[in-house]
């Protein structure tokens, strides 16, 4: 069914977002015969895209059922195929506005100023996930793709035998740095503290890798180079001294922010922008609107926990719809 056919129609379940949470919700809702419509997002090279953050990863080693590991994009293709197999309608579009003030809830696609929403839904499952934070320095946007990267798996290949930097101290930074040593001759991890917050196994991998070294208590102050990145100006946070690191590539992995701009004024959020759900539930402050996955999780943030809450959201949506009859 095309999107035009949805116009003016009321669907039982609309799912916004298509990472592990959204697609698990789609599998459960489809199997419950609720004919879910999934707005999977639009292509982008950030993690705010169909498939979510796993589309920018390589080997996923901790998703149960894959003892040899699985590539992130392949895992998400499998989620998507499984949802489609049970009849979920998946559309490659991005929601531009929502109206949760009255049932059935309105969802706009494209022009958010249009009089009528693209579709109306009796329940909405929000699974828009989170995306990488950038440093916010001058010329950041123009340097992406010219030495500055948010996607090690997309761009690592182009830094063969070069010295590059990874900024961050968590699991994603360790994973990217370790992955990048397949190509780079040397990877310097720049971290603003004197200890990592990455898991022990990821820390050990980075410490044991002879191509990886660390700059502790350090922050990037400036991107150097004209049209292509040629180095970084680094400030030592303890001494205040600045230095130059000659790298041709810089990968940013300092954390994530939830994709919740769409829900400002509609759903309750924490100070950090994550959606608030009831304890042990995916219910939001609006009846019939459920939130699952990283958009409401600033603690676990794993593919498997996202999938788990996606299942919860679908079951809660089903019970809510039953309660209306």
């Amino acid at each position: 069914m095309s999107l035009d056919d949805l116009a003016g129609r009321e669907v039982e379940v609309a799912i916004i977002g298509s990472g592990p949470a959204g697609l698990t919700a789609a599998i459960y809702a489809a199997r419950a015969n609720l004919h879910p419509v999934v707005l999977e997002g639009e292509p982008s090279s950030t993690s705010d895209q169909p498939g979510g953050q796993l589309m920018l990863t390589t080997d996923v080693e901790n998703y149960p059922g894959f003892p040899e590991g699985v590539m992130g994009p392949e895992l998400m293709q499998r989620f998507r195929d499984q949802a489609a197999r049970f009849g979920a309608q998946i559309h490659t579009v991005k929601a531009s506005r929502v109206d949760f003030s009255e049932q059935p809830y309105g969802i706009w696609i494209g022009d958010p100023g249009a009089d009528e929403p693209a579709l109306r839904a009796r329940t909405v499952i929000v699974s828009t996930g989170a995306q990488s934070i950038m440093l916010g320095l001058d010329r950041e946007v123009e340097l992406v793709g010219h030495g500055l990267s948010t996607c090690a798996t997309c761009d690592g290949f182009f830094f063969r035998d070069q010295h590059i930097a990874v900024v961050g101290g968590g699991d994603s930074a360790m994973e990217e740095a370790t992955f990048l040593t397949r190509f780079a001759s040397r990877v310097t991890i720049i971290h603003r503290r004197d200890a990592l917050r990455a898991s022990k196994i990821m820390q050990r991998r980075a410490f044991d890798n002879e191509r990886i070294d660390f700059m502790w208590n350090s922050v990037v102050e400036e991107y150097l180079g004209e049209s292509t990145l040629a180095g970084l100006r680094i400030r030592d946070t303890k001494t205040g001294e600045t230095s130059t690191l000659d790298v041709t590539g810089c990968f940013i992995a300092i954390g994530h922010r939830p994709n919740t701009d769409l829900f400002v004024g509609q759903l309750e959020m924490k100070e950090n922008g994550y959606l608030v759900t009831e304890a042990n539930s995916t219910r939001t402050v609006v009846d019939g609107v459920f939130a699952c996955g990283d958009v409401q999780d600033d603690y676990y943030r794993q593919a498997v926990t996202a999938a788990g809450t996606g299942c919860m959201a679908a079951i809660e949506a089903e019970r809510y719809l039953e309660s209306l009859h």
Partner: protein, 108 residues
Amino acid sequence: MAGPTITLSASTFDEEINSASTPVLVDFWAEWCGPCKLIAPILDEIASEQEGRLTVAKLNVDEAPDVARRFGVMSIPTMILFDGGEPATRMVGAKPKEALLGELAEYL
């Protein structure tokens, strides 16, 4: 691959780009790139819809790293539009179809 999208290699690249009767949009991609997979079907659609006005060509950077280096490709997907054999514009990163068409509009 069905449709008019063509595949380039290091040895055919220059000849195809220089002898084309339309501008050529080259998609620098690789098997291991998630965003490349997202835009592949969109580029195939554009190839069909713009047939006769635009040629869409794919170049696997794993197989032709020297060509990627020659054009300064440091991130994929990168799409470079060649007009008369010369790079006319480039787009870095996956984008929705409308955004790609918007950037190509003045060359079609």
